[in-house]
């Protein structure tokens, strides 16, 4: 198996960042969140470098097996967190978001990182667009999930260490909206690709059907924020449930059911 030391270094950077956020939750030291953010930023630089190096050597965006998609998903989630952190200074949310990211990266690391040869059917920019929008969308949904958990925690704890409920709610709505937009682009690219590859743009295979459900669910969530009784708590629960649907679509179908989607 190829040398994985840089991947482990990346994991360590993110793990240290999560430790920083965890320590801040107990000790309430501002510099700990700043250190956490610095470590996340350093991790993203390394993550981007590794991804670029793999892309350049393979000649295509390597997202054709579980290691590669988990690695890409983790990168997109780290970037998403950085965006929200820089824009809204969510601080403590790093514990949840980057904690989730550690799980993603951690489940990729035991796998073989070698990039497999590209099968001809995947050799099209539509595939790359489909994947990029899919995982950047998933990353937003993961962010919304973490913000939902944080919202429910804060609603109970009313802790000074956590961001205010109204900010969490706004960020959650933004993550869902951005995620829906990105996932829409993923579905559009995927449908065009299906049309030119198979001669029909919607396939009744389980993965495609569940992708449609993910899309429909988050379209619904774009509206749920207008229902006053649902704002806040219900919306947070919906974000958590939605991420369950995402995880089933991404991992569950491949692991529990067997699908004939080209990426399974």
């Amino acid at each position: 198996m190829p040398d994985k030391s840089l991947f482990y270094l990346l994991f360590t950077l993110y793990a240290l960042a999560v430790s920083g956020y965890a320590a801040n939750a107990v000790l309430r030291r501002e510099w700990l969140t700043r250190a956490g953010l610095g470590l996340v930023a350093a991790g993203i630089l390394l993550h981007t470098g590794l991804l670029a190096q793999r892309w350049l050597t393979a000649g295509y965006l390597p997202v054709t097996n579980l290691f590669a998609t988990l690695f890409f998903f983790s990168w997109a989630l780290a970037l998403t967190f950085l965006y929200f952190e820089l824009r809204y200074r969510l601080g403590a949310s790093g514990l949840f978001v980057m904690g989730l990211n550690l799980l993603l990266l951690g489940s990729a690391l035991p796998r073989d990182p070698r990039v497999p040869p590209l099968i001809p059917a995947l050799d099209t920019p539509l595939f790359e667009l489909h994947i990029i929008f899919s995982f950047t969308g998933y990353a937003m949904f993961a962010m919304a999930f973490a913000l939902g958990v944080l919202y429910l925690a804060q609603a109970r704890l009313a802790s000074g260490a956590l961001p205010e409920l109204s900010l969490l709610r706004r960020c959650n709505e933004e993550a869902i909206f951005l995620g829906f937009g990105l996932f829409t682009l993923c579905m559009v690219a995927g449908s065009i690709w299906a049309h030119i590859a198979w001669g029909y743009w919607f396939s009744w295979n389980v993965k495609a059907v569940w992708s449609f459900l993910v899309w429909l669910f988050y379209a619904g969530m774009c509206h749920a924020k207008f229902v006053r009784r649902w704002q806040g708590g219900v919306y947070a629960w919906l974000s958590i449930a939605g991420f369950g649907v995402v995880l089933f679509t991404y991992l569950g179908i491949g692991l529990l059911l067997e699908s004939n989607h080209p990426l399974e």
């Binding site: 001809p120 030119i196 001669g199 743009w201 009744w204 429909l216 059911l257």
Partner: protein, 354 residues
């Protein structure tokens, strides 16, 4: 009159209601979730769902397993109500366009979704799908569902990896309508030929018998395959018109194909004598050659079969695909516009409430 108006008004309000949208979308979601499990555990019924349009597939599947497929028409009803609901919302927005033009992005998304629904329904009602057709270079196929159209495979070049895995299947095809060319192009992986709702896809390839290497007295070793003719020492020419890998003769003397595998091969030959006489007939390679060939000294003795490739081409028709693409473009633009207005709205600090 007043009552009627208020009924209409109430219907319109229902049509525009977000609550209705949430109910039908949730119902469709629940039905599809359950249905996807039925799909997974009953491959015998659902395994070929993509091989035909949903209407054709359903007509057959419903006969076989109504208890497993009832959720599909219900889902269609939910989605149709959802579509109507979206349409009402869209009209409502258009009626208030002056005040709500800032929501253009959102409503482009709604328009796109509607176009997708209509495109899907139309494509599945008015379109068709086929199992792949097997075509060798030079062969033509009249589309069974659209007999005005003929597809001709002009050339076929598969490429393989060193391990023998097919990398690409490059077919040069011409589409004819009423005998005249309407489209021509290269069909390969991820590159179909599109014309008038037709989608011609490179699906697979198949090895086939292309011809025979034969020995002919005086002419030596020659490769004979359809379209090829050879000059014989006495000045006559022998041409191959048709090759059947497996052929049979009917009681009235006609020769018909019996299969695609090498069995009882036969060639339809045309012999032109220098004096202008011609002979045309079938030569069964495993049988005694026709007398006309023997007396002319032009008997091809088969030495080995020559292999070639046939292209397996799928020809589907989806007249709704253009509409669906327009829907996809509307949604893409809508997403970009909506993102822009979302951040503008955030920057101004207003929160829309319903």
């Amino acid at each position: 009159m007043a009552d009627q108006r208020s009924l209409l008004q109430r219907l319109w309000d229902l049509g525009c209601s977000l609550k209705l949208a949430i109910y039908v979308a949730s119902a469709a979601t629940a039905l599809i979730m359950g249905g996807s499990l039925a799909m997974h555990y009953n491959r015998r019924v659902f395994g070929n769902m993509d091989a035909a349009t949903i209407t054709v597939w359903f007509a057959d599947a419903w006969q076989k397993a109504p208890h497993l497929t009832w959720w599909l028409p219900l889902t269609a009803v939910c989605l149709a109500i959802f579509g109507l609901n979206t349409f009402c919302c869209l009209c409502d927005w258009l009626l208030h366009l002056k005040a709500r033009w800032r929501k253009t992005g959102e409503y482009l998304i709604h328009t796109g979704f509607l176009l997708l629904l209509i495109g899907y329904a139309w494509g599945n009602v008015a379109g068709f799908r086929n199992d792949p057709f097997r075509l060798a270079p030079g062969e033509t196929l009249t589309l069974p569902a659209l007999p005005a159209y003929t597809l001709r495979l002009d050339d076929f070049n598969p490429t393989f990896s060193p391990e023998g895995r097919p990398l690409d299947m490059v077919s040069e095809v011409t589409l004819l309508r009423g005998g005249s060319e309407v489209a021509r192009g290269t069909v390969r992986i991820n590159q179909p030929l599109l014309h008038d709702g037709l989608v011609i896809i490179a699906t697979s390839l198949d090895q086939r018998l292309a011809g025979f290497r034969c020995f002919i007295d005086g002419a030596g070793m020659v490769d004979l395959f359809p379209g090829r003719s050879v000059r014989l020492p006495d000045g006559s020419t022998l041409g191959v018109m048709t090759l059947l890998p497996d052929a049979r003769r009917t009681a009235d003397g006609r020769v018909l194909p019996a299969g695609d595998r090498l069995g009882n091969p036969a060639m339809q030959l045309l012999l032109h004598h220098p004096d202008g006489r011609t002979w045309q007939g079938w030569y069964f390679l495993r049988e005694t050659p026709p007398a006309a060939l023997a007396t002319a000294g032009a008997v091809p003795q088969p030495m080995e079969p020559l292999a070639g490739y046939a292209s397996l081409l799928t020809v589907n028709r989806d007249p709704g695909a253009g509409l669906a693409l327009a829907g996809g473009i509307a949604m893409t633009l809508g997403v970009l516009f909506a993102l822009f207005s979302f951040y503008r709205k955030r920057a101004r600090g207003d929160r829309p409430q319903l």
